[in-house]
């Protein structure tokens, strides 16, 4: 320790200490008898040897090397700029990925039990998995489990409108009463929700999200106590969340604007049937185990509780379904798409490094004279390699510093494009700086070492090294291009889902009542009146109603033994007509017809095979909530074409419809078709004013758009990566060919003089790179196929999409085009070589 201190003291006073030593030696020499003075030796060498004792020689050499490297880089600005740009692209892509990951998954607000929170997971048969439970299940676990320190729930998503400023589609989180107290979240102002708010008799309250408070209320602290009209209902603001509070659910990356106690859900959205608490699996459950409890014990107990729930609610829970616990933080890390994305981004870096390696090799050849002189002057091989590596390290540092900036910019663009809201900041925190420092060192070694060794050896083997590097670049670009083509294909196939009805020109209208006393015949009359008024709006040609609007987030899915999931909807008789779903046979419902069911073609096939479904009886298990009066099995009265509406969620699903009863429910959902502009229709509907009812309309395709935005961003990101890698490959190919043409100008001139014709010259230039191009292409195909398989296994892709040869052809064709374009200029130059000038060239 003290030795280190003395060593540091030396380096701080090195000038004086050096002077001391030199003075001392001079004195010594003077004191020596004159005839012995020669024995003292070179005092410079002695001083160096003495300095060496302090162990600081490397610093001197490093300084020398750095100064030299700066001079060398400064002297060839074109090379330096290219190298830094290439590296900045490669490192920037990686850092952007890191930023995005950090913003989405890491940079959440830290909660009290961040590390020990667990999420409950349903393990379905045969191998499904979901984190969404029916709301009543949470209550059941909470009441009966003895292993839990606490249990909190959140239900994210229901869209709420704020009637005071006409904003619609605000996302909301309905959380258990103990949520904020258990997690230890403190309000920015006011108070958070607490268990008292869960009392059904408690006043209706809401907590505003920080971002929403900032944007819509101008961060006005007097908002506390104000009454807002949400979905037409008065609700009092009691507090504002801290900055950047996002729900625990992985699926919600937003700073939720509105937080309600779960008990307010019926008040705000009105599906008042108590059995409804079971029929919608939309609640996520998070727990903390009691101290010392093992997750395995908790899982066993929860699973036995689930079995009990299955006996009570056979339709909502499967036979043999078990409940597991998973740590919250590991979920995103293990997700294969995230890992794959990381690998893809790394590929870009590899391509960049290979590219730089190539440039450096070429430069090494050009500098062979300089290096030769240095070796001749007595520089050791390691000394020269160290010098070259210092230069590379400097390049890497410059490139990564530029990459830091590129990465930040890219991340901002992507996050903006993903539209995930202002809650995410892109910050250069220490992790990012650390990551980039790591990248710098890694890339210096990766792209610099081989060329440095090669330069010192001064061997012709450089060609082999360059061929390998070209192969690597080609492989990386091909993988990225094939995968972008795969994902683009996938997104296109998702966007052109086989939806039978004209969803682009449809609008769904939820009718909320503003007063819970509004019911009975008077309500029915008002609702009918609204329907009639909407029907009279310009452009409207159909109005019908259903309990669940198609393409939305809600679905009423039932599980029957040995059948695919059945999507059940309660619809009015005019539904099929308005949706333009053709009847294959049979008829539509009569008004409020009971015990009748209409099935889709795929459902008929699944249940009755080739038999005629019409007139068959079908036991749908329990009666649907809406047709509560009905008991017995349903009679099939009609068969309709598949609507395709649920294909987004589950392509295996089949559909069945029962008749909408004549009782009045809130919210009542109308489905409107127009031959005009749907967004104009939404405005017209919002302008309707009728006492007691608040209409909330949205274009039917909006949920679809929201679901596909994520896919769009994915395609965009992978496409951008592919573009970057291809740009790098094009640069690499261009550089290589240009370099070899320049180097061989004389040889080509001689050949032309001897009668070589353009095809021969072409062959001469291309021969070197045919093998690396082919090998790189093959490796790219193989790697892309493997990645496609990973994505398919992760459930991200429809089966066998990644085996479509057209996808590979597209990717390779794009690469071939780019490579050709890059090769064009150098090849043309080679063909234009004039023997007379070439022979003089050197």
């Amino acid at each position: 320790m003290r030795k280190l201190f003395r060593r540091l003291q030396y380096i701080l006073n090195r000038r004086r200490r050096d002077q001391d030593l030199s003075d001392e030696m001079a004195a010594h020499r003077e004191m020596m008898p004159p005839e012995r003075r020669a024995a003292f030796g070179s005092s410079l060498r002695l001083r160096e040897a003495s300095r060496d004792a302090w162990g600081w020689m490397w610093l001197d050499r490093l300084r020398q090397d750095l100064a030299y490297a700066v001079r060398m880089l400064w002297r060839s600005p074109a090379f330096t700029l290219t190298a830094v740009a290439v590296l900045a692209l490669g490192a920037g892509a990686n850092l952007a990925e890191f930023h995005i990951f950090n913003a989405i998954f890491v940079n959440r607000i830290s909660l009290r039990d961040n590390g020990s929170l667990l999420q409950l997971v349903r393990h379905l048969k045969p191998d499904g998995k979901t984190t969404h439970f029916p709301a009543a299940a949470a209550e059941f676990y909470g009441r009966h489990s003895t292993e839990l320190s606490y249990l909190v729930t959140e239900n994210n998503g229901p869209h709420i409108s704020n009637d005071d400023d006409d904003s619609v589609g605000l996302t909301s989180s309905f959380v258990s009463g103990n949520y904020f107290t258990a997690l230890g979240v403190r309000p920015a102002i006011g108070r958070m929700l607490d268990p008292r708010d869960s009392d059904p008799a408690a006043p209706r309250v809401v907590v505003l999200g920080y971002g929403y408070w900032q944007q819509h209320f101008g961060a006005d602290p007097s908002v506390i106590g104000r009454v807002l009209h949400l979905n037409g209902k008065p609700v009092q603001v009691v507090g504002v969340t801290p900055y950047n509070l996002t729900p625990l659910s992985l699926w919600s990356t937003n700073d939720t604007p509105l937080w309600f106690p779960a008990s307010e859900r019926p008040y705000l959205s009105e599906p008042s049937d108590p059995s409804d608490a079971f029929s919608r699996a939309d609640t996520e459950i998070f727990v903390k185990l009691k101290p010392g409890m093992s997750p395995a014990v908790a899982e066993a107990q929860l699973s036995s509780l689930t079995a009990e729930l299955h006996r009570e609610q056979p339709r909502e829970f499967q036979t043999g379904e078990t409940t597991g616990v998973e740590p919250l933080a590991t979920l995103p890390k293990l997700s294969p798409p995230a890992v794959m994305m990381g690998v893809l981004v790394l590929l870009v870096l590899i391509a960049a490094c290979a590219n730089l390696g190539n440039i450096l090799l070429a430069r090494g050849l050009a500098r062979s004279q300089e290096i030769g002189i240095r070796v001749a002057l007595g520089a050791g091989r390691w000394r020269v390699i160290r010098q070259l590596m210092t230069e590379n390290l400097l390049l890497a540092v410059l490139g990564t510093a530029a990459g830091l900036w590129v990465g930040r910019l890219t991340a901002l663009l992507v996050l903006h494009r993903m539209n995930i809201g202002p809650a995410f900041r892109v910050v250069n925190d220490w992790r990012i700086v650390l990551a980039s420092a790591f990248l710098a060192v890694l890339s210096a070694i990766a792209f610099g070492l081989a060329p440095a060794l090669q330069s010192v050896r001064q061997a012709r083997g450089a060609i082999r090294a360059r061929q390998v590097l070209v192969g690597v670049q080609v492989a990386a670009s091909c993988v990225l291009l094939i995968l972008s083509s795969l994902i683009t294909r996938f997104v296109i196939s998702r966007l052109s889902i086989d939806v039978r009805f004209d969803y682009n020109r449809m609008v769904a209208v939820n009718l909320y009542r503003t007063n819970s006393n509004f019911k009975g015949a008077r309500a029915r009359q008002t609702l009918d009146e609204i329907a009639a008024r909407i029907d009279r709006l310009p452009g409207v040609d159909h109005v019908t109603s259903a309990s669940i609007p198609p393409l939305g987030f809600l679905s009423n899915m039932i599980h029957l033994p040995n059948l695919p999931p059945v999507y059940l909807n309660d619809v009015a008789p005019s539904y099929f007509d308005a949706m333009a779903i053709p009847l294959v046979e049979g008829r539509t419902f009569r008004t409020a017809e009971q015990d009748a069911v209409i099935v889709s073609e795929s459902a008929a096939r699944a249940v009755w095979g080739k038999d005629d479904a019409l007139g068959k009886l079908w036991d749908l298990g329990k009666e649907t909530p809406q047709a509560a009066a009905s008991q017995g099995p349903y009679t099939v009265v009609g068969v309709v074409k598949d609507s395709g509406a649920n294909a987004l969620n589950d392509s295996d699903s089949v559909e069945a419809y029962v008749s909408l009863g004549d009782s009045t429910r809130f919210p009542e959902t109308l489905i409107v078709h127009t031959y005009g502009d749907p967004s104009a229709l939404v405005r017209d509907i919002h302008a309707i004013e009728i006492r007691g009812v608040h209409p909330y309309a949205y274009p039917l395709r909006r949920p679809l758009d929201q679901q596909t935005t994520a896919l769009h961003s994915l395609a965009l990101i992978v496409g951008a990566l592919g573009g970057t890698a291809t740009l790098l490959a094009a640069l690499g190919i261009f550089g290589l060919l240009a370099f070899s043409v320049a180097q061989r100008t004389r040889e080509i001139g001689v050949r032309v003089a001897l009668g070589a014709r353009p095809p021969d010259i072409l062959h001469l230039i291309a021969r070197q790179y045919a093998v690396p191009l082919a090998a790189g292409g093959v490796a790219g195909i193989a790697l892309a196929a493997a990645a496609g398989r990973v994505m398919q296994n992760a459930g991200q892709l429809p089966p066998d999409l990644h085996l479509d040869p057209a996808i590979y052809a597209t990717g390779l064709a794009i690469f071939a085009l780019v490579a050709l374009a890059a090769a064009l200029a150098p090849v043309l130059r080679a063909l234009r070589i004039n023997p007379a000038t070439a022979l003089r060239w050197e």
Partner: protein
């Protein structure tokens, strides 16, 4: 001079009194009956190493010939090191002599 012996000899001559570099070399030469010579080429690196290890300290002063020179003096850890090295050296030489006598 056997390797490692120079350090020990330097420490030993410094035990009597602080000396400057030339005096150290001369002292070793004299005390050895003019057989051993501390080469200047190894004396100064050895002294620098000792400064680093903290066995000696250096201070500027004026020599008997009125020259500005640096005096090296032994420190507490240096004295300990000397004792340790001498003990080790005696052990080794005794062992070597034992072999030479009997073999």
């Amino acid at each position: 001079m056997p390797p490692g012996a120079l350090g020990m000899l330097i420490l030993r001559v410094l035990r009597t009194a602080p000396l400057h570099g030339y005096a150290i070399a001369r002292r070793i030469h004299q005390l050895s009956g003019e057989i051993l010579a501390a080469e200047e080429g190894s004396l100064y690196p050895a002294l620098q190493r000792m400064l680093l290890e903290g066995w000696v300290t250096a201070e500027w002063g004026v020599s008997e010939t009125k020259r500005r020179v640096r005096f090296y003096s032994l420190t507490e850890p240096g004295a300990k090191q000397l004792k340790h090295e001498m003990a080790e050296y005696e052990q080794v030489t005794a062992a070597i002599q034992g072999i030479l006598r009997t073999a």
